[in-house]
Amino acid sequence: MFDLNDLYQEVVVDHNRSPRNFHAMPDASCKADGFNPLCGDKLTLYLRLNDEGVIEDISFEGSGCAISVASASLMTEQLKGKTEAEAEALFERFHEMVTSDVSEPAPENLGKLAVLSGVREFPSRIKCASLCWHTMKSALEGDQAPVKTE
């Protein structure tokens, strides 16, 4: 049986307690708001892109459950220096990981993000883990309306 410690791995607990890149960004080139009405997770995501479409800086603010905060924190770490296309490709692989069947081995090419693979076993928490990614996509696409997970 899946253990709670698979969901709340040490890295997750650590990123929840001390989220990385957790601040506003006055000179952001784009930003978006995300909201998960089920548990009240709220975040604002900031991105600064250079002329080549590379994410020079990324940060977030907000409040939410450990999964949503840790996921956003881990995401910002991973996306710095990536191009828009790379970011969207990583989102796809991340989405695949958190929604894949538990009987399948978790995808292996996700690096540190793999600590969130435990979410697969907790269907009600998938939205918490993916909120930041949806918000990132919306920021890149320049959507004005806040992202909602339901």
Partner: protein, 413 residues
């Protein structure tokens, strides 16, 4: 029920035996179900009644002359009388079956509200309402230009009574409030509210969704004008509820929906509406749900609401004592007059994480905004964890809750 009988208390083992669902393990632990404010579990007699209806009695009501139709009509109308007795209404003409408390409130907003309220009139609600006692009025306000006024709540989660007195003005045309708050557990001083509103000629709607499984409700004693009831929060089936309304009010209200059963004669020129309460029951109703609800109120009455209230009071007192002694825990909603709900936040652990961690210990609680986002805003929290108790919960289960909270806290330490 005599004082001596209440004193004897609940036979908790016997009560628990009546609820089959309680006797199971979740994630390897005996289930501790503390999400009763969301929905209560159903006693075997209710489950059996619904099953018997479908296996032996199913037929449409109010139309057939055959045996089964007569039988289902008899049981359907019998349940109406059981509900009438349960809340002590004068007449079954005042008992309208609807889909739930939400629909009961929408019915009043659309039927009473649209025909009696106009631009500039005011509706008074409180800051502790469930969304179902906010949004129907907002819809009405958009349609009619009526203005929604909100009585604020204080730090304990009580309505600010001085503000209520101030806001109850010559423009007020309706007061609508929760009998008991689903997010905080606060019980409103509804009898006084009704008296004060009536002194100004203002009718009162009480949202009783949360109250009826925990408090003895007597609509005549309260002299309330509208009372909304949800069956599934009081041991009955989902998808069924009751609007109690004084007969004179119902008479003066236009139908809410049109269709079969709510008419006495239809031609293409003119339709004559049926008598009360059928004028408000368009279409084939949720017959099994109604009969199940009838069984549920019989069950509650047989156990005794006063006895249930006393048992739940003891559970809440024990839970509150443990919560107050729990490092890092803050109770949200500390009114003196409250029932069966412990809403709280735990430092360092988000309510949603608590929900997941407790679930893995077999403890079912609710984490979230409890369909009362303005209450969350008032207390400056995005969400709370909520343990809500019912007649079948035990002191040992409350202790299991706190064991699980300790475990969660260690995990995030």
């Amino acid at each position: 029920m005599s004082a001596a009988e209440i004193e004897r208390g609940l036979d908790i083992a016997a009560v628990r035996d009546d609820f089959p669902i309680l006797h199971q393990e979740v994630h390897g632990h005996p289930l501790v179900y503390l999400d009763n404010a969301a929905t209560t579990q159903k006693p075997k007699c209710v489950i059996d009644t619904v099953q018997r209806y479908y296996t032996q009695e199913n037929a449409n009501v109010h139309r057939g002359v055959h045996h089964l139709s007569e039988l289902s009509t008899k049981h359907y109308e019998g349940a109406r009388d059981k509900v009438r007795r349960f809340i002590n209404a004068r007449s079954t003409r005042e008992i309208v079956f609807v889909r739930g408390a939400t629909e009961a409130i929408n019915l009043v907003a659309q039927s009473y509200g649209r025909s009696h309220l106009k631009a500039g009139d005011e509706i008074l609600i409180t800051g502790m309402e469930h969304h179902s006692n906010i949004v129907p009025w907002q819809l009405l306000c958009e349609q009619t230009g009526t203005v929604l006024k909100v009585v604020p709540i204080d730090d304990e989660g009580k309505m600010d009574f001085a503000e209520f007195e101030r806001l109850l003005s010559s423009r007020t045309r309706l007061v609508a409030m929760a009998h008991m708050s689903n997010a905080l557990g606060t019980i409103n001083p509804v009898k006084t509210v009704v008296e004060m509103a009536h002194a100004q000629g203002v009718p009162v709607l009480l949202d009783g969704a949360q109250a009826t499984a925990h408090l003895q409700v007597d609509v005549q004693e309260l002299d309330v004008d509208f009372y909304a009831i949800s069956a599934h929060k009081m041991l009955g089936p989902t998808g069924i509820g009751v609007l109690y309304a004084k007969e004179a009010l119902l008479e003066a209200m236009p139908p809410y929906q049109g269709g079969g059963d709510m008419i006495s004669m239809v031609t293409f020129e003119k339709t004559h509406y049926n008598d009360l309460p059928y004028k408000f029951e368009a279409g084939t109703p949720h017959i099994a749900g109604v009969i199940g609800l009838g069984e549920a109120v019989d069950y509650l009455a047989s156990v005794g609401l006063e006895r249930i209230a006393r048992h739940e009071h003891d559970l809440l007192a024990h839970a509150t004592k443990r919560a107050e002694a729990f490092e890092g825990l803050t109770i949200i909603g500390t009114a003196t007059h409250k029932a069966s709900i412990l809403s709280f936040v735990l430092k360092g652990v988000h309510p949603h994480d608590l929900g997941t961690i407790l679930d893995r210990q077999g403890v079912a609680i609710r984490a979230g905004h409890h369909c009362a986002m303005p209450v969350m805003d008032r207390f400056g929290v995005p969400a709370t964890a909520r343990a809500s108790f019912a007649l079948y919960n035990t002191v040992e289960e409350v202790d299991r809750l706190f064991d699980a909270l300790e475990y969660a806290q260690r995990m995030f330490a």
